[in-house]
Symmetry: C2
Subunit: 409 residues, 2 copies
């Protein structure tokens, strides 16, 4: 049995007209001889409507009840789409998380998939040509409904593709693929034909919103090729897949950016062992996610400066915590700046090449962009700059690493 998994987001199923476009994609899969597994999100706006209802009913809604409430969004969209398919003579039925079943842990609102029973799905595919599966939801061992967190429908689709041995997982969106950078910032941004899982992971976590990061982790773990493409055209999109030698020939694959950054500095911190733990321990305990960290030590002084970034909405909380830390460890000054942003160059090719970072720095400095912080990983260089320079920096880096040329890979 040849199985193809397709996933469609909320805007693709918002109206009857849109759902008819989705039906055409499903029909195309059937025409190619596949049994189809179609994963749908809730109709656009529905999840927010339900969350607003929960907020009206309770200042802090019970998480399990909230999941049961919110999951009705997908339940409605898969029922409606199955009706539409049956009306067209296509043998289809809907499947909810508990019916598959997609078993998750009990972290309501942000559950993780533990297992998918493919047996019932395969039996159902003997009887039906299309299974319309609710994205974003699963259920615990004791049958309580869970949701996978925002964007979780991508993860549902990839997990189903893995469980069923689907040739690939098609993720349909309102863009036609993954770009070398944001086309809104950089007119020479180019759609990539292929991108490695690791590159996609770095891009997703940096704010490239095409694919939910957990779905890429899942795809990488189970080696599921993910085809990101547009609901509104028939053009091929971008294949997210395992890296190969052609990918490594390219130094940098994409430029990502993230404006949701704030910088915090503790100045004049006594330079003692354990001081980093004294600062980042309390932050982590209170759920603040620290991103970049730099420690400057002046050789002739017994103190050091500790600088790090957090997302802007966590800045007030972070400053409150740091004020306490400052008193406790006897630091001199607490400074912050919420007008910073980060720009990253990503590419599996940079593993084998030095000098990528140097090229990036000099290109930015040549245009007068001051570099505030630097972070590097095996396949990524991240540079913190003033927010006002983001658009310029993205274009400079995109140009510097030749991303506007189609290298034919």
């Amino acid at each position: 049995m040849k199985i193809l998994v397709q996933k469609f987001g909320g805007t693709s199923v918002a109206t009857l007209e849109r759902m008819k476009q989705v039906r055409a994609k499903v029909q195309a899969g059937l025409d190619r001889g596949f049994k189809m597994v179609v994963v749908l999100s809730a109709r656009a706006g529905e999840t927010n409507r339900l969350l607003a209802l929960a907020q009206e009913w309770s200042a802090s809604p019970d998480l399990a009840e909230c999941d049961s409430l919110v999951s009705t969004g997908e339940q409605a969209s898969i029922a409606l789409f199955s009706m539409l398919l049956n009306d067209s003579g296509i043998k289809a039925r809907s499947m909810l998380g508990f019916q598959v079943p997609i078993t998750t842990d009990d972290d309501f609102g942000n559950a993780r998939i533990r297992s998918i029973d493919s047996e019932i799905l395969l039996q159902a595919l003997e009887q039906y040509d299309v299974l319309v599966v609710a994205g974003f939801q699963g259920c615990t061992e004791d049958k309580r409904i869970t949701t996978l967190g925002r964007g979780g429908s991508d993860t549902s689709a990839v997990a189903l593709a893995a469980a069923l041995g689907s040739v690939e997982c098609e993720i349909y969106t309102d863009v036609d693929g993954v770009y070398t950078t944001d086309p809104n910032l950089c007119s020479t941004a180019r759609k990539m034909d292929r991108v490695a899982y690791d590159e996609m992971l770095e891009m997703a976590s940096m704010g490239a919103k095409v694919l939910h990061i957990r779905s890429v982790e899942f795809a990488k773990k189970y080696k599921v090729p993910v085809h990101v493409r547009s609901t509104f055209t028939d053009n091929p999109g971008t294949l997210v897949t395992q890296e190969d030698s052609t990918m490594e020939a390219v130094l940098v694959s994409g430029i990502a950016y993230d404006k949701d950054q704030a910088r915090v500095s503790l100045r004049g911190v006594p330079d003692q062992p354990g001081i980093a733990a004294a600062i980042f321990g309390p932050l982590s305990e209170q759920g603040v996610l620290v991103d970049m960290i730099v420690q400057n030590t002046a050789f002739d002084e017994p103190t050091t400066d500790m600088t790090f970034t957090v997302s802007r909405k966590e800045l007030p909380k972070t400053l409150a915590i740091c004020e306490e830390i400052k008193q406790k460890i006897g630091a001199k000054e607490l400074l912050h700046d919420a007008t910073v942003a980060k720009v990253s160059a990503i590419g599996v090719g940079m593993r084998n090449h030095s000098g990528v970072a140097a090229r990036a720095f000099s290109a930015l400095q040549a245009e007068g962009i001051n570099i505030l912080m630097i972070g590097t990983s095996e396949i990524k260089i991240t540079i913190l700059i003033q927010e006002k320079y983001v658009e310029l920096a993205v274009r400079i880096l995109h140009d510097t690493f030749g991303l506007d040329w189609d290298l034919g890979v």
Copy 2:
């Protein structure tokens, strides 16, 4: 463990304010030392909104998908109410049909409950003080969601009360009990303190819309006392229960009526054995529900007249079928009248008394109301009259059988 089942309809859970009134009823149960099982309908208007959506998507929506869609209405209301209870410090959780589980047959849209597993409910009641259960829904053996048909939430509540050995099943509505007749027609209509299952069954099937008829059958079968009462007051309502000697002392307990009646006559039907089957066989095969039937035989003729009633919306279909039958059996004439209605006097007390029918007929005829058809059963007399006389007939019968007096039973 003392368990009390309460059921609230769509208007009782329509808004946050209304749900707070429901919470007060639940709290009152907790204060009396009960573990509570609360059955809710969808919020008022929600089921119709979802059915309209289904109709938009498909001219004849797949029944199983329609059930999955429509069941989201109850799913939302029980999640919201559980949030509200938890906010008030009441340990509560929602339970969907498949979670209980309430197992039904696979007659989607009109499923019948086969079994309720009380084990999981009882376990959950160890942990929670209130279980908020979705009315109207169940699931098949293979975990597809079913609905029980309109008014099915009453049936859910009674079935749960039976399975859990609830002391009684409280059905909250927007009226304060069951009346001797429709108070809108008859100002002396009186709320009954008690009514027998059989009486309630006859009243429900005659259009007294307080309780869904299947829920009364269920209550009778499992001897569950059903307390019909108002969400908006603390007054006791009407207890629907097993009959006893005090009930039998009352000749007639209530007067019901039904305006949704049409009369059809086949005149000059050859009077042969099997002629009734030749007429009612095809009607039944095509799903027409025939109510009253009268056959008049003229002694001096070889033909007979066959007259029966159907609901008005089935009249066109009935006439089409009867036209064929007329040709086939060689009847002379096919007549119909859609301006008729029926009025019934109901009471377990009439089992032991003759003359009730005669009293009813003479009372109506004394006021010049022409009796078109008559039907009697052990505890009911039904009289078909012209629709325009319904209000008058109800008042006459109500008066004739002394229902405006409180007999202290």
